[in-house]
Subunit: 320 residues, 2 copies
């Protein structure tokens, strides 16, 4: 099958058509218009077989995840997603695989009314690169660099689930129980926290998504903001399923160091805590206060109750 046919057949006519897309897929470029007073947020992420996903990951999950991790970056910035470009490198052409890939790909696009505006399909080792774009009202972006000493540190949802799900898949055993199913789902189908991200725009002083692991991503915020942090280990949000499956100690380790949860880690000043509570009371997603920002630049203080907590050696997932 020809490149042109592939894009035409599986991607060109599908999905939401947005009014701000002047020229869609099929020409040398797509052409879009950005609403007045909005700025454009752009992010790119690549998933490579054997590095970011296991061999034989279902096409549907791979496609879903390639979209999800990019939308998660938009969420962390406070952006509302609008358009996506996708480059798919495939060792061969298998129509059933493509069909299932397209299905997974469009799941979040439909939900958030995001339009695919560009695509390239090439022959090569399996990998997917997505570039996602979204809008932020002028000046409202949430940076990693805005955390201030005294700010409270929050994280959405629960941590460590995706890491446990990955371990289950790596073991290769059959996924039987509801608990196992839940953990695997959390690894394969993370939920980008778009709605909460946009709600936090004027509340959070900094924000990042937890992709490399809590400690690694907190470190990014600390470095960018030139601050330190105190983390309360006993406040880490752990799902019942995770604790059931691996026990408390291992759950804490996964919550600290396993990546791929795609929850939002953000900071809020004492003054904005009430505002945050209001937002959270109307949200279907919870956020937990897990620590506080300190003025001790680059210093991370892990606490278990009144005691210092000795951190595990492995500090989150690193690509090189």
């Amino acid at each position: 099958m020809k490149e042109f046919d592939l894009i035409d057949r599986f991607f060109k006519q599908k999905g939401h058509h947005r009014r701000d897309v002047v020229v869609g897929i099929g020409d040398d470029c797509a052409v879009m218009s950005v609403p007045p007073n909005q700025q454009l947020a752009v992010t790119t992420d690549t998933l490579v077989e054997g590095v970011h996903f296991l061999k034989d990951t279902p096409a549907r999950s791979l496609a879903y995840k390639a979209v999800a991790v990019n939308l998660s970056d938009l969420a962390a910035m406070g952006a509302e997603p609008s358009w996506l470009s996708m480059s798919l490198s495939l060792p061969d052409t298998n129509e059933a695989w493509m069909e299932s890939f397209a299905e997974g790909f469009y799941e979040l696009l439909e939900y958030y009314s995001v339009q695919l505006v560009g695509g390239d399909t090439v022959r090569g080792p399996l990998s997917v690169t997505v570039t996602a774009q979204g809008f932020i009202p002028e000046g409202n972006q949430m940076l990693r660099s805005g955390a201030q000493p005294g700010d409270w540190l929050y994280v959405t949802g629960s941590l460590g689930d995706a890491g446990a799900g990955l371990a289950l898949l790596q073991d290769g055993a059959e996924i039987k129980t509801d608990t196992e199913q839940y953990l695997v789902e959390r690894h394969l189908n993370p939920t980008p926290r778009i709605m909460l991200g946009t709600s936090l725009r004027r509340i959070a002083t900094s924000c990042i998504d937890v992709s490399d692991g809590l400690l690694a991503d907190l470190r990014h915020v600390m470095n960018a903001s030139n601050v330190g942090a105190r983390l309360f280990i006993d406040r880490l949000p752990l799902s019942d399923q995770l604790v059931d499956h691996v026990g408390l100690d291992k759950s804490v380790e996964l919550a600290l160091t396993a990546g791929d949860d795609y929850e939002l880690l953000f900071t809020v000043s004492e003054e904005q805590k009430g505002q945050l509570e209001t937002v959270l009371s109307g949200a279907s997603l919870q956020a937990t206060c897990i620590g506080q920002i300190t003025g001790q630049s680059a210093h991370l203080d892990l606490r278990l109750g009144d005691q210092p907590y000795t951190k595990p050696e492995k500090l989150g997932f690193e690509h090189f």
Copy 2:
């Protein structure tokens, strides 16, 4: 070396800093502002080792080309390039290679004042995906679909050179003569026709860049515009170097079917020919009238003087 260090070290601080980039590389997203009355053009292209470039292609050439092919798509739309995102998949980390890659990467970015706003570096088989963005005044984009019967068909520069250059590299023989050097350069370092592209915005009725080969790309225009075309084989612009190197017959074949020239193929109405001449007289780049659009949808009429010309079987480069 860590992913973060790689991007920081070789890409973060380099190159032009544009005033419309509010947040550059280093956060979850970049944030940019689009000028009023401008629309955004976006394109994505991936180059994979062994498919789009030969093994052992110099890092500098690979990087240059990954940028050039994307800027060429912007040129074909009439867009002025502004920002780039890049995803680089690397089997290992070699500092000398990265240095040379970054050098080639920034060559066109500096020339056109384009800023790199996003990057991902992953471990995997060698490939580069670039997403390029640019501005077009509202409603001024050049599409493939605007060609009308009677319009004249033009192409910039000369055709077939890149194909001959690729063949030279594939042969693996030492590149000795100036002619050979020229052809190889045309393959490795194509020039995106940005300036002419923006000048054609209000003159051309349709435009595409010649990446798959003249016949294949003309076919795209014919399909999108629902027209036919007459092509005058004896008017194809061939470089002296190409004819010297492979002879006239092979030159014509390469001009028709070899890809990677990245010249602009465009159509102009009879009424706009004068306007085009004015633009060309001030340009350093020439364009040649090589045919005319006809009303016979999907019918391609190749002429050699008064005679029909029998076209070669291979119809341009196709990825699948």
